[in-house]
């Protein structure tokens, strides 16, 4: 369904949305805008199912129950952050180290959230919480593109987020149940699902020469640090060092 573009700036479409008092069929209703967002979210749903399943398998392989793995995805919704938190917990057995590792991996959401902020002025606080909760690399990419076309609104964005959340949680539940049923997950090559996802995420992040340089610096630093630091600390420290060096050099 097309949202009529009334010539206003994208921001004002979001902030001064007509109250849906008009009868259905005459103007886009909350429901039709939500449904449009839900359709935008279908590719994310399809992408999240297998990665969620991979997380479910990884979590049960690490000793999580099906309930714990599914609750993790339902409450956290952070693909890479969940994998890294799980990996850190398994390798170090230290909850604080795991939470710091997942926090650093998720620092990028400060930037995404700050980028979305101007477009979410005047949105009710409960809906800001819902949109923040469903903010991922993929929903951000879809929503910000939709915002730039002047078509996104708070209901379409909620639709994108809801469908993505269902895909991630459902995928995890299926993966966790399969993991408990199938036994040794390494027979299925699942241990490469997580590296494969990170390789794809990395390729998506290398958008220019500076990013390539930052990536090379972080990789070398992480490998060098891995000879002296334990668990996920080489990743955390290398990411911070490389980002700081690149900022200092390019400022």
């Amino acid at each position: 369904m097309m949202i009529p573009v009334d010539g206003a700036k994208p921001c004002s479409i979001l902030t001064r949305m007509p109250r849906p008092t008009a009868p259905a069929g005459l103007a886009p209703t909350r429901r039709s805008r939500f449904a449009r967002g839900a359709r935008l979210g279908v590719p994310i749903f399809l992408g999240y199912m297998p990665v969620g399943a991979a997380f479910g398998l990884a979590a049960t392989a690490a000793g999580f129950t099906v309930a714990q793995a599914t609750a993790c995805s339902a409450l956290v919704l952070a693909g890479a952050g969940q994998f890294i938190g799980l990996a850190a917990l398994v390798s170090s057995g230290n909850l604080a180290a795991a939470l710091i590792a997942t926090g650093v991996v998720n620092l990028r959401y400060l930037l995404f959230s700050a980028t979305m902020a101007p477009h979410l002025k005047g949105v009710p606080r409960w809906q800001q919480v819902a949109l923040a909760f469903t903010l991922t690399d993929e929903t951000f990419a879809v929503n910000i593109a939709d915002v730039r076309e002047g078509r996104a609104d708070r209901f379409s964005m909620t639709g994108v987020g809801a469908v993505s959340w269902i895909g991630w949680t459902l995928g995890t539940a299926i993966g966790a149940m399969a993991g408990s049923a199938l036994g040794d997950p390494s027979r299925w090559g699942v241990e490469f699902a997580m590296p494969a996802m990170f390789v794809a995420l990395l390729v998506g992040q290398v958008t220019g020469r500076r990013e390539l340089l930052a990536a090379a610096l972080a990789a070398v630093t992480a490998l060098a640090l891995s000879t002296v630091l334990q668990g996920q600390w080489p990743v955390v420290v290398a990411a911070i060092v490389a980002a700081t060096v690149m900022t200092a050099v390019t400022e």
């Binding site: 000793g63 993790c72 902020a117 090559g189 996802m197 992040q205 900022t247």
Partner: protein, 108 residues
């Protein structure tokens, strides 16, 4: 896995995630991030991903695997190529897992 550790990770990650994602939306609608912070944050995703990828491909399971027949390293090539051309996480993950299984079978 100790249930307290597992649930601690779930609850802790849930809290840290919503705080990181909500604070800028809730607060920064008025406030502007300093330019240098913005620049620093823009480098964090690529440096995190690269550090993770480097350690996962060259030290899978924690031990160095600096061999030309490292299946993790070799399978990352089709993964990257598929993602570069399709922009599909699904396709890239599938290509990666299938090549990884094939390589492990071929290389023993």
């Amino acid at each position: 896995m100790n249930p307290a550790l597992a649930w601690g990770l779930v609850i802790g990650m849930a809290l840290s995630n919503i705080v990181i994602r909500l604070v800028p939306i809730a607060a920064l609608s008025r406030l502007e991030l300093p330019h240098v912070v913005h620049r620093w944050l823009s480098y964090v995703p690529v440096t995190v991903m690269s550090a993770i990828v480097a350690t996962q491909l060259l030290k899978p399971g924690g031990a160095w695997m600096l061999r030309p027949d490292n299946p993790y390293l070799l399978a990352s090539v089709p993964t990257a190529v598929v993602f570069h051309f399709t922009r599909s996480f699904l396709g890239a993950t599938a290509a990666g897992v299938v090549s990884f299984l094939a390589l492990r079978f071929l290389l023993g």
